[in-house]
């Protein structure tokens, strides 16, 4: 009250704190072997898919006589049925997959977190309605529904595909978030916030959700994993128009062209499979390590 | 940490001795301690006990050069705020420290029937027997300390069997006898699961378990903290009666001055891992010589007498990793002088020529200004200080860290 000099506004602080918290998480990740491998793998695939294409030209030229070649120094991963370089296709084929996966995971998490948090905190009719919708979606088998949908909707837009996958993917995560919020809302500091009448928005998004960051990060990663499976599955079954170039399309083409029956097609058919598996494995390891970092009950020792 | 320690060492919160007739340590070990120097009635003699443990931030100096003597039938209260190291001190006496903690110096000598042994220097087998023979520790958290899936009777029998009392019937009989001794409905309680008992009943069960193998020293860590007032009273009265009947020595670890006033013969104030003052209960409550003791006494509200304005000890409890230079109480002390910063005062007798080791018949304080402190203290006329507050400079120092 005495000489309270105009203090600098507090805005930079939360940012700093977030950066520091992020740094701490990354450090903790790298300390565990699984976390380090997972993080490395994810970063590797991101670089491959988004930076790689600037350095590796997509090979579109049909080269007669060079079809179905095994990996060699000229073609690192062999060639496809038209003699095109598989390696360049792998480099260019990750982008769409990752974009769809990220879009799906983002939308899923956003829907699940906001609905779950509000349902858990507000309760009442809102909770009942949201739960009912979630239960209906949960009871419909996802993959067959997608198959049916794919026959009606032309899924030539990768973002649209992401939205569709997300529309079906949020209920499970929503239920989990809701139950977390149900337990968090019992905390004294939430009661204090209610007593101060800080408003539902503030309580849910400033008080409750920040303490669930870890959980949300894990859910995001798991959402990506699920989205990759679904999307590759759909492409593989030919239900998504084969435009562009991605690992799913590669796999589908390799399959319908019968690469599996040709000795030289080994590199062609295995490359997308291995790429998808490695990306998934990295994500799984990352999710598992994140879980260990954020969930004290799983933490070993101190 | 108090509660977790109990569970960390596995279920039962009471460490009681086996057959009281086996003396498994060798005379070679015995030789380390010159028993003849100890007066016969001393059952526990601690010298220069020092415990430190490593955490990420550095070394925690939990116990620093603690010495005291405890006589048969005597009750010593260790009083201090949380984090003062009093619980670590108690754990070190039975060598139940967490793994990270190390006793870096000192001796802890138990004496019985003319035989003395330093428990810090015996091997693990001998230690186990010795520890359980001489000293039972009852932990703070009465709920965590009992195994939730076993009936009380079985837990008593387990402890008895583990220490040589193999006859089940004898063990059961002894269990019932002890439960009666602590004023419980013995048959019913023996057949109950811990969750069926109230907090006060569980605390009494633990005290009974502590008595199971008749140790001569019992350590109670915050025995009444979690209990309601009326239950607390029962436990206090029980302890008083038991120690009169059984003549065991009792070490009370507590932050509660009133509990010490009720039960203790000797009181030691513990601050920053050291005993800073020790004397008879009357010395400590009516003639304190250390500013911290005075501070604690001035901060306790009473039920009787006129209203008097109370003052807290200013500032914050010390950081055991980064202790202040010189006297560790200096940052909170109203009597501080430059001398206090130069040197950490030793514990010395407040009476010229008196014994400087805490124990019956001595009153010691670790303060250069003890006479001034003593002169300034007057229990009934404590009104000169005005109001409060959390010292600005002390919190500033903490803030800077």
């Amino acid at each position: 009250m005495s000489e309270t000099v105009a203090l600098p506004p507090s805005t930079p602080m939360p940012g700093m704190a977030t950066v520091r918290a992020f740094g701490r998480t990354v450090l903790a990740l790298v300390r565990q072997p699984a976390g380090a491998i997972g993080l490395f793998g994810v970063v590797f695939f991101l670089l491959l898919a988004f930076v790689g294409p600037s350095f590796v030209l997509l090979d579109v030229k049909t080269k007669l006589g060079k079809e179905y070649q095994l990996p060699s120094s000229e073609f690192l991963l062999g060639t496809d049925y038209q003699g095109r370089d598989v390696f360049s296709q792998i480099v260019h084929g990750g982008r769409d997959i990752i974009i769809v996966a990220t879009t799906t995971a983002l939308i899923t998490t956003a829907i699940a977190v906001s609905l779950g948090a509000l349902a858990g905190f507000l309760g009442g009719w809102f909770d009942t309605v949201v739960l009912a919708i979630a239960d209906i979606i949960l009871t419909i088998p996802q993959f067959p529904l997608l198959l049916v949908l794919a026959t009606f909707v032309r899924l030539n837009n990768i973002v649209l595909l992401g939205v569709l996958l997300a529309a079906l993917g949020w209920p499970a995560l929503m239920r989990a978030i809701r139950s977390q919020v149900l337990s968090l809302r019992q905390r004294d500091y939430i009661e204090a916030a209610r007593c101060l009448d800080l408003g539902t928005g503030h309580i849910v998004f400033q008080q409750i959700l920040p303490s669930m960051t870890g959980y949300i990060a894990i859910s995001f990663t798991l959402g990506m994993i699920n989205a990759i499976f679904l999307q590759v599955g759909l492409i593989f079954l030919g239900l998504v128009p084969l435009s562009g170039n991605n690992w799913g399309v590669m796999l589908q083409l390799a399959w319908v062209r019968g690469a599996i029956f040709i000795k030289g097609g080994l590199g062609y058919i295995l490359s997308p499979v291995v790429a998808i598996s490695l990306l998934q494995l990295s994500l799984i390891m990352l999710a598992r390590s994140l879980e260990e970092i954020f969930n004290p009950r799983l933490r070993r020792g101190n | 940490m108090n509660g977790t320690v109990a569970s960390a060492i596995g279920g039962t919160g009471v460490f009681a001795p086996p057959s009281r007739f086996r003396l498994p340590w060798s005379s070679a070990v015995d030789a380390r301690v010159d028993g003849s120097k100890l007066p016969k009635e001393v059952v526990l003699s601690v010298r220069d006990l020092t415990v430190a443990y490593r955490v990420r931030r550095g070394m925690v100096q939990a116990v620093r050069k603690v010495s005291f003597d405890l006589r048969r039938g005597e009750t010593l209260a260790l009083i201090g705020e949380s984090g003062s190291g009093k619980t670590t001190l108690a754990l070190a006496l039975v060598r139940l420290l967490v793994r990270a903690a190390k006793v870096t110096d000192g001796t802890v000598v138990y004496q019985r029937d003319g035989r003395a042994v330093d428990v810090l220097r015996v091997g693990s087998d001998a230690l186990r027997h010795y520890r359980w023979n001489e000293c039972a520790m009852v932990f703070q958290s009465a709920l965590n300390a009992l195994n939730p899936v076993l009936r009380v009777r079985e837990q008593f029998i387990d402890v008895a069997r583990a220490h040589g009392m193999t006859n089940r019937a004898t063990a059961v009989a002894r269990t019932l006898e002890l439960l009666k001794l602590v004023q419980l409905d013995a048959e019913r309680v023996a057949g109950s699961y811990p969750h069926e008992l109230s907090g006060g009943m569980r605390q009494r069960v633990l005290i009974a378990m502590g008595l199971l193998l008749d140790p001569q020293v019992i350590i109670l860590d915050e025995p009444t903290t979690a209990l309601d007032i009326l239950t607390q009273r029962t436990v206090i009265d029980l302890l008083r009666r038991l120690k009169e009947e059984r003549q065991f020595a009792l070490i009370l670890v507590s932050h509660d001055l009133a509990l010490a006033a009720e039960l203790a013969d000797q009181v030691a104030t513990v601050y920053a891992g050291r005993i800073v003052e020790c004397g008879s209960v009357a010395d400590i409550f009516y003639r304190p010589n250390h500013p911290y003791t005075v501070g604690l006494l001035n901060a306790v509200p009473t039920l009787s007498g006129d209203f008097r304005s109370l003052v807290s000890v200013r500032g914050q409890p010390p950081d055991l990793i980064d202790l202040p230079r010189g006297c560790s109480f200096l940052p909170r002390c109203p009597f501080g002088t430059p001398e206090c910063e130069r040197e950490d005062p030793h514990l010395v007798s407040v009476v010229p020529g008196g014994p400087s080791i805490p124990g019956a018949g001595s009153h010691t304080a670790a303060c250069f200004h003890a006479p001034t402190v003593a002169k300034g203290f007057s229990r009934r006329l404590q009104t000169e200080q005005g109001d409060e507050v959390a010292s600005p400079d002390a919190s500033a120092k903490r803030g800077a860290r």
């Binding site: 009250m1 800080l198 | 009326l230 009273r233 000890v313 959390a390």
Partner: protein
């Protein structure tokens, strides 16, 4: 609305016509559980004038915390009413409700649980300041937050603004919790065992801070504690209510109640509390209870709930009807007894 006022509060006191700020009128909190109806609070009436200190004392399970939450409007009583400035809070809407909501604040027992660990002290204090328009900009909120920290003796305040709760001691956190309650300039603070988890050596300074707030800002307190000595210290100028399993058994001026307890339960409590004075405490005469069992809230004893333990129990009287809280000699049950020493005991009432 005003009729209620007249009926519930007859305070021909020295304070004259001062109407109570907050009144609990025969509130109950009965919770159905699978094992039966739990009567956590069973008909408690209490009122506090502006700036008054009232202490609720009782052992665990006596319903004092629930009563506090009802007073703070965080629990709606299953029956009975809470009046703020003479108006039933369940009927308040809009601005009126907001005035109540801001007017009565709560300080929790556990400062480790009551402050969001993810927010800095500055953010914790700024949120309510911004929300309720006590600060127009974030820098104004920061300035005000610093002032509030000064007010609760967390100095120098600017050192604390950017700290996270885990960097603070229990006592410092509790001061932050008090500062947070003060952000909305309440007239009444319900403090639920605010010092029980704070180190002994700094308890008193926390209480002194709250007493100073009461003096300087005129904030009233409902101070909930299990420690009668603390209650006596804190409420020296106010009143103490003693609760036993969901009911108020005695209510009176702090100094009077402790020096001259009437209810057998209060007497037993006072005789049982150890004091930090060896001669005094060892000389104390004890009130012996007939039983140590605390009754289960699921199966309360009939009549006076204390009768199975009471040393003054009289057959045919105590277990038959529930004694009303009233001044000895008076036949009128007091809903609120501003300056009266009221006791809920048949034997005492008979004189």
């Amino acid at each position: 609305m005003t009729a209620v006022n007249a009926r519930s509060v007859d305070s021909p006191t020295s304070d004259g016509s001062h109407a109570p700020l907050i009144t609990l009128e025969n509130v109950r909190w009965h919770v159905p559980t699978p094992r039966g109806l739990v009567k956590a609070v069973d008909g408690v009436s209490l009122s506090a004038r502006d700036g008054e200190i009232v202490c609720l004392v009782g052992e665990s399970g006596c319903g004092k915390t629930t009563t506090g939450k009802i007073a703070a409007g965080l629990l709606t009583p299953t029956s009975g009413r809470v009046l703020y400035e003479g108006r039933d809070i369940s009927s308040l809407r809009g601005d009126d409700f907001n005035r109540f909501r801001r007017g009565v604040q709560l300080v929790h027992q556990d400062p480790y649980a009551s402050i969001n660990p993810m927010h800095t002290v500055g953010a914790t204090l700024s949120a309510p300041l911004r929300r309720h328009g006590f600060a127009g900009s974030s820098s104004a909120a920061r300035t005000r937050a610093a002032e509030l920290l000064d007010l609760v003796d967390l100095t120098p305040s600017k050192d604390f603004l950017d700290k996270y709760p885990h960097q603070l001691s229990g006592g410092q956190r509790q001061r932050v919790a008090i500062a947070r309650a003060l952000t909305v300039e309440p007239r009444f603070i319900v403090a639920d065992e605010p010092v029980s988890m704070v180190d002994v050596s700094i308890r008193i300074s926390l209480l002194n801070t709250m007493l100073r707030l009461q003096r300087e800002l005129g904030t009233g307190f409902l101070f909930i504690t299990h420690d009668l000595a603390l209650a006596r210290y804190f409420a020296w100028g106010g009143r103490i209510g003693v609760m036993y399993v969901g009911r108020m058994v005695e209510l009176g001026l702090a100094s009077d109640l402790v020096a001259n307890p009437q209810h057998p339960y209060t007497r037993a409590l006072l005789s049982a509390i150890p004091e930090a004075d060896p001669e005094l405490t060892r000389r104390k005469t004890r009130v012996e209870l007939r039983s140590l069992e605390i009754p289960s809230l699921l199966k309360l004893p009939s009549g006076c709930t204390f009768h199975p333990r009471c040393p003054q129990f009289e057959t045919g009287l105590c277990e038959v009807s529930v004694p009303q809280l009233r001044a000895p000699g008076s036949t009128v049950a007091e809903l609120d007894s501003s300056n009266v020493h009221a006791v809920a005991c048949h034997v005492v009432a008979r004189g």
